[in-house]
């Protein structure tokens, strides 16, 4: 017959249980929160191919299966890149919200840069030409400041004489 545990033993056991719970619950909550954060991050970076929207915004049956697939891989501890690769293997490159930066997809990055450079060069050329044109107009204006020519002066005098002011 085993002796009944004393009040002191029960109190100690209870204290240990409370301490363990206090230690483990935040850790478990933290892990769940990290999992949720990673899931949310991935869902914002991949598409639901059937809906044509970000996976995070999609509610279709296909999106539900895709989310479950992502969650399974996150729980397995796979990295974000590994999960994206797995999604590409299943659904092709179109599943990526951002182009992957190789092959034809690289044009998504290159074209805006080239367009920006071309626009900047055209703008600079335009400004340069405009400044040149306005400079020559200023020169013309300066020649006007010298006053009317002799011929104009004579015509003006003749006109004024006609009105006998």
């Amino acid at each position: 017959m085993s002796p009944r545990p004393g009040r002191g033993t029960l109190t100690t056991a209870l204290a240990v249980a409370v301490a363990l719970a206090a230690l483990l619950l935040p850790a478990a909550a933290g892990a769940a929160s990290a999992l949720r954060t990673e899931l949310n991050e991935i869902e914002e970076e991949v598409m639901c191919p059937v809906c044509g929207t970000l996976l995070g915004l999609a509610e279709s049956p296909q999106a539900t299966r895709e989310k479950a697939f992502v969650e399974k891989l996150v729980k397995k501890g796979e990295s974000k890149d590994e999960i994206k690769d797995a999604l590409v293997a299943q659904y092709g490159n179109a599943v990526l919200a951002e182009p992957n930066g190789s092959g034809f997809s690289i044009s998504a990055y290159v074209v805006p840069i080239v367009a920006f450079i071309v626009a900047a060069v055209l703008l600079a050329l335009g400004v340069w030409k405009w400044r040149q044109a306005s400079g020559s107009e200023d020169d013309d204006d300066k020649s006007d400041v010298d006053g009317p020519s002799d011929e104009d002066r004579e015509r003006l005098d003749a006109d004024l004489a006609r009105y006998d002011l």
């Binding site: 191919p49 059937v50 279709s60 049956p61 296909q62 299966r65 092709g92 490159n93 599943v95």
Partner: protein, 176 residues
């Protein structure tokens, strides 16, 4: 001035060209009867290599686009399998194309419904888009030369299969 006009015209033409290209490439024209069906190489659903509809030239082929997450696909799968059992052979086969679906889910689906006909996997849905599908399920009957003979932009059942597909097949289609 003349150079500037030429550049302006070229830019305008390029913009209009891009818009037209965008419209044309968005336009999902459906495969018409008599047109040759696209038959790119696709991975087999059981991951045992790749396959193509070209392999079935010489046979009538009922191409069934489906996905495991599609509820009408669950309803039509038993009827398709029954039709394959009745008519599949030397002159005819059903070919399933699991589209925009996880291959594991597709494999489980095929097992669950006991589908014995060949299955390909079109993960990104490109092959379906080439046919002009707008969803799943969709069904296309191809002649032995690979041209479209009949299509159903939705699920099929035993009645549709017996009324529209069976009459087109050669009488001795059940041969092995």
């Amino acid at each position: 001035m003349r150079v500037r006009s030429i550049i302006a015209v070229l830019v305008a033409v390029a913009i209009v060209g891009l818009l037209v290209y965008g419209l044309v490439s968005k336009g999902n024209s459906r495969l018409a009867v008599g047109e040759a069906a696209p038959s790119p190489s696709l991975p087999k659903l059981d991951e045992s290599g790749s396959g193509s509809l070209k392999e079935y030239r010489g046979k009538w082929v009922l191409v069934n686009f489906w996905a495991s997450w599609c509820i009408p696909c669950r309803d039509e799968a038993p009827d398709l399998e029954k039709f394959q059992q009745e008519h599949g052979g030397q002159n005819f086969t059903v070919v399933g194309i699991d589209t925009q679906d996880l291959s594991d889910d597709g494999t489980k689906f095929a097992k669950q419904y006991g589908l014995t006909y060949p299955q390909l996997h079109d993960g990104n849905g490109d092959n379906g888009h080439e046919f002009g599908t707008t969803g799943v399920p969709e069904n296309y009957l191809l002649e032995p030369n690979g041209k479209l003979a009949w299509d159903e932009p939705g699920p099929v059942d035993a009645k549709i299969l017996s009324e529209h597909v069976a009459p087109l097949l050669p009488p001795n289609s059940k041969e092995s």
